[in-house]
């Protein structure tokens, strides 16, 4: 496995992040990514998949998601329906076993990138229930007495917003990286990747304003990269003069999503 990740034209990764990705790939361990919302945790998986030209499988975790859902689902109701109309294949249970995202990743002939997005959303037990599967990269389906084993160990990327603490046993198996909020120079690079040819003055003014807003105290939710990108888009579309940006912060509603934060901003602008 010599593939190394060096970022893509669409995604700017810091050296440390690239290092962490490569460590995870080489050691064949899941990579756990934490960071402020909007720092591109989810985007990373896409970028890794693109850079290594591999297929990306996304498993979005919700509060109701069970570990079992990622492995397989046995569609009993469909089978019951089919049995009434005597369609072929009712005897064959395998017909009604639908593999989940994890199962899909295991079955794939080529190595894939598996993104388990927002793992902390699920139940407390969820990560523990996946320990064996992620370690051994296999699981057993009792209904068909079959073992699904990974043909190619997928590259597993897990993101977490730290809503819940993850169990120790799970953490021990992961490579961990915390994405720091990019500094101004990095951010300029990110903006360049997103917009390419943008007026340099506009960008520098907007970035200065953006970091000024971020350092305001009493903000409940700081604006993040994705909001900056939206804001720049709005600024360009609205044809705002670069000189006005820092003075007025036009379209502040794109940056700040809470009434209270907007009021705080107005207070500080005066």
């Amino acid at each position: 496995m010599n593939a190394t990740f060096t970022g893509t034209s669409q995604y700017v990764a810091s050296d440390e992040l690239m290092g962490a990705v490569n460590i995870a790939i080489t050691l064949q361990k899941p990579l756990l990514i934490k960071g402020e919302p909007g720092t591109g945790k989810t985007m990373l998986a896409q970028a890794v998949a693109d850079a290594l030209s591999k297929q990306l499988i996304i498993w979005n975790v919700k509060s109701t998601t069970k570990a079992q859902d990622g492995l397989y689902v046995y569609d009993v109701v469909q089978r019951l329906y089919d049995s009434q109309f005597g369609t072929h294949g009712v005897d064959d249970i395998a017909h009604y076993i639908k593999l989940g995202k994890l199962g899909e990743a295991f079955q794939s002939e080529n190595q894939v990138v598996l993104l388990i997005d927002e793992i902390d959303k699920a139940d407390l037990e969820f990560p523990n229930d996946l320990l064996w599967e992620l370690d051994q990269m296999e699981f057993y389906i009792p209904e068909t007495k079959e073992t699904v084993r990974a043909k190619q160990r997928p590259i597993v990327i897990i993101t977490s917003n730290a809503e819940k603490e993850l169990p120790d046993a799970f953490l021990r198996r992961c490579v961990f990286h915390y994405i720091e909020f990019p500094d101004q120079a990095q951010m300029a690079e990110i903006v360049r990747v997103h917009f390419g040819d943008l007026d340099g003055k506009l960008v520098s003014q907007a970035l200065a304003a953006f970091y000024w807003v971020r350092q305001l105290r009493d903000l409940e939710k700081k604006p993040s990269t994705s909001e900056l990108v939206d804001w720049l888009r709005a600024l360009v579309a609205g044809g705002v003069e670069p000189e006005r940006i820092q003075k007025e912060i036009p379209f502040a509603g794109v940056l700040l999503k809470k009434d209270k934060d907007l009021r705080t901003l107005q207070k500080n602008l005066r």
Binding site: G19, L124, R172, R173, F176
Partner: protein, 398 residues
């Protein structure tokens, strides 16, 4: 050299296990540190540190260990050599450890050695409680460490951390972000008693009923629904507040948070008292008169199906427990604290006592109430393990 870095990290409160250490070795053998100190730093951090809250601590330890290494210039040859052949050093140490087989006495020695180191460290850093807190953890972290890389369960480790920290102060621990409510929450999960909810609107598919009816219906699908099963456990939490319990305020608030967060209870009521629940308990930990509730009212309004958890250190002056109290509002002597407690115990068959202090080995003047109540109630340590035992006790009648 390598192993001392491992110890240093653990000593600084990073809970590095042998598993992770082996991964690090594997990573170095695969050249992931790119033969540079910076690369080594990143590799270490990615594999050994599992929370951004620990990054700073890791940085400090790393700096401390490698402080003599010039950053700009060339790496000294010994270090470069070591970076390139880490396995010899580490491998040998591992072999030694395995050969020793880690009998219990060795563990003792290890603990002793660490304790000595910790003492040194305190003098150097005089970081006060912050370091003390983390030390408690790392000492026992080592205790649970085994060459086969089977750790003694996280629960007992956490318990020990609490015990050690109990000798110091808890509040710094919280800032330190090392204790979390997760294990408490997990323990509360044990308190589950599923029963059919009659009044609930949402229905769930009754698989057995559907199959039976479908068969009766000559194979045409007939779907049956039933009322969902939900937890029917009702909990009454009585917390000792003020006085000697100030010490454990944060621990209690953690327990309280865990209880409120695990919102699977049907009902959860919390009341506070000082030393003993006398004729009044309080809705707020401040124990102000305007939040008071007659204990009698509690006994009348909460029936015996409630599961009661009393949290307190049971440490008080003996007269506070045994002597009858003059009740100003009624102008007569009311029952003693002990009598109130026995009444509560009689009324609620499901009752446990969680105590942040462990039972004293010998009875002395200050611990005699603890001793007495400990024999009267099912008393457990207020720790993840104790809570778990307590929850199991609460599920069965006395």
């Amino acid at each position: 050299m390598f192993v001392s870095f491992f110890y240093l990290l653990r000593q600084r409160g990073l809970d590095v296990s042998l598993n992770e250490w082996l991964s690090l070795l594997e990573g170095m053998e695969k050249g992931l540190h790119r033969s540079s100190l910076t690369g080594f730093y990143h590799l270490c951090r990615a594999l050994l540190v599992k929370s951004e809250a620990d990054y700073d601590r890791f940085d400090q330890a790393f700096l401390e260990f490698f402080k003599d290494v010039p950053y700009q210039g060339e790496l000294p040859p010994e270090l470069l050599d070591w970076l390139n052949h880490p396995s010899e050093d580490l491998g040998r140490t591992l072999e030694e450890l395995k050969a020793l087989g880690f009998p219990d006495e060795k563990l003792e020695e290890l603990l002793k050695m660490l304790e000595e180191r910790l003492k040194e460290q305190k003098e150097e850093h005089n970081g006060g409680n912050y370091w003390v807190g983390t030390q408690g953890r790392s000492v026992f972290g080592n205790g649970g460490w085994h060459p086969n890389s089977i750790r003694v369960g996280g629960t007992s480790q956490r318990r020990a951390a609490m015990l050690v920290a109990g000798e110091r102060k808890f509040r710094d621990f919280r800032k330190d972000n090392t204790l979390d409510t997760r294990q408490f929450q997990m323990a509360f999960r044990l308190l589950r008693q599923l029963s059919i909810q009659v009044e609930s609107n949402e229905k769930v598919l009754d698989v057995d009923g559907t199959i039976r009816d479908t068969c009766d219906n000559a194979g045409t699908l007939k779907i049956r629904y039933q009322n969902p099963r939900k937890n029917a456990v009702k909990v009454l939490l009585l917390i000792d507040s003020g006085g000697s319990m100030e010490y454990y305020a944060d621990l209690c608030s953690m327990l309280f948070q865990a209880a409120t967060k695990s919102n699977h209870f049907k009902e959860l009521h919390t009341f506070y008292f000082h030393n003993c629940p006398y004729s009044e308990v309080y809705r707020h930990p401040g124990l102000r008169w305007d939040s008071s509730v007659p204990t009698e009212w509690i006994l009348q309004n909460f029936d015996s199906s409630y599961k009661v958890i009393i949290v307190g250190d049971a440490a008080m002056n003996p007269y506070e427990l045994r002597e009858t109290r003059y009740d100003w509002s009624r102008g007569e002597y009311g029952p003693s604290g002990l009598e109130w407690l026995t009444r509560i115990q009689k009324h609620f068959p499901y009752l446990i006592w969680l105590n942040p202090e462990t039972m004293p080995k010998r009875q002395d003047y200050w611990s005699q109430t603890h001793w007495q109540l400990g024999h009267l109630f099912h008393m457990y340590d207020l720790s993840a393990e104790g809570l778990e035992l307590g929850m199991k006790r609460l599920m069965v009648r006395r």
